[in-house]
Amino acid sequence: MLDIQNLSVRYRKNLALERASLTIQPQRLVGIIGPNGAGKSTFVKAILDLISYTGTVTYKNKPLKGQMKQVAYVPQRTAVDWDYPATVEDVVMMGRCIHIGWLRWASAKDREIVRESLVRVGMESFADRQIGELSGGQQQRVFIARALAQKADLLFFDEPFVGVDQTSETIIFQIFEELRNEHKTLLVVNHDLGEAVSHYDDILLLKNRVIAFGPRETVFNDENLALAYGGKLSRFVDSDGSTVVLS
């Protein structure tokens, strides 16, 4: 259970996030939705203590700050230098860094975990590739493998579907759902309001404050969307019954 109380973030004079309070139950796949500049990434970064904030964040009734081993974070694609001299294997091994510990080297077991993680995302044959030589979807899968190698319970993804093709998106959602079924909690920042939304168990609708949070069926309605996006949306029901929203 991830409990967030009165989480506020200020950039200079602007309030990027105002007193967000919510409790995320374990084993949920949570979509964090909202327009540009709604504070979605800010929300995640504040929880992870990557930026300064006020409020409290507890996980299993203890401050999250002391349990960072439980947390895996996949940053936005634009935050990564894809020309960096690192192979796919190097990146996934970073997930083991904190487990290996200071002044120690990776053991055979760590290498095995790295290999297993790559197999799970279907990237084992790319282990020796430089990360810049992959497609956007493959790069994202490598970062997911890193999160898997970390053996974390609480996983955060910042815009994982930007620059990702449809096939990779389907694979990534499959992995997300598998992880959820393995008792992990996933928080996914998702700018896109398309068909993807139907994959989430819970939706957190943000616009610099919590507009709504709860199971997708109760939160994802015209009224809430209008509050977040200011009525600039059209909503369609697809032939297969899923809802499609265009902003």
């Binding site: 894809w82 960096y84 190097d90 970073m94 080297w105």
Partner: protein
Amino acid sequence: MDLVQLLVDPLQYGFMQRALISALLVGTICAITGSYLIVRRLSMLGDAVSRAVMPGLAIAFLLGANIFFGAFIAGVTATGLIGAIHTNSKIKEDTAMGIVFSSFFSLGIILITKIQKDNKIDLNHFLFGNILGVSESDLITTLVISVIVIATISLIYKELLFHSFDPLGAKSVGLPVQALNLVVMSLIAATIVASMQSVGVILVIALMLGPGSTAFLLTKKLKTMMLLSVAVGAVSSTVGLYLSYYLDISSGPAVVMVSTVFFILSFLFSPRQGLLTHFLHKDQDEPSVSGSLPKSAYKP
């Protein structure tokens, strides 16, 4: 005169032996810390720190303290000041660097020109290096710094790799990113201080970036980049030193020009990135994976 003689001949002089050892050490550590500058896009900061060490060594000289230590303190202080200016104002980092390094550099020149009137100390030696004048105690200082730099990087390599590749990810798992930053900055300052005597503060940045960028174009792992970079740095230093001996040219610039030749070769002929490699393979049916798509396809 045959090749062996050509190489061995200069080494009959003690100053040439010391110069060669010093050049090899400096070439090695510049290549290693320079690799971090390149992958973290901190090249400009490296340049700034290299000029900023000047007032530190002058003040240390006046106080009768170790000039290497003084230079190190000044380098680290300058880094701190640059950070303080850009986090506490609208001023961006590049401008902050320009302000801090030019002020430090100017202060350093004023102090050293004052001192050199009454003492046997030469501003030019600090600016451009004087590898043939390396004394035994200078050599020991360089050796100690080299050992510290290499040992530190070997011991915390995996943390530095994670931190330099993905600072946010590293912070999110609880790595002490501030401390790691300080370590990298200290190693860079230490490398500059160790290189002062042989290449001088003006050119040390070239010795940090040249071998590193040569290797960057040829490798896909940081570790291999560093090792190749060390090889290029060591060869450049040695060849540059001999050129300087036989052609009677300044050693610092000679070393830098040799490393530039390596960079140009790598830039033109790197198997994966080379400018000419691309043209040479154009006619073939199956170009390499990295060459087959426009580079922009990988970028968000």
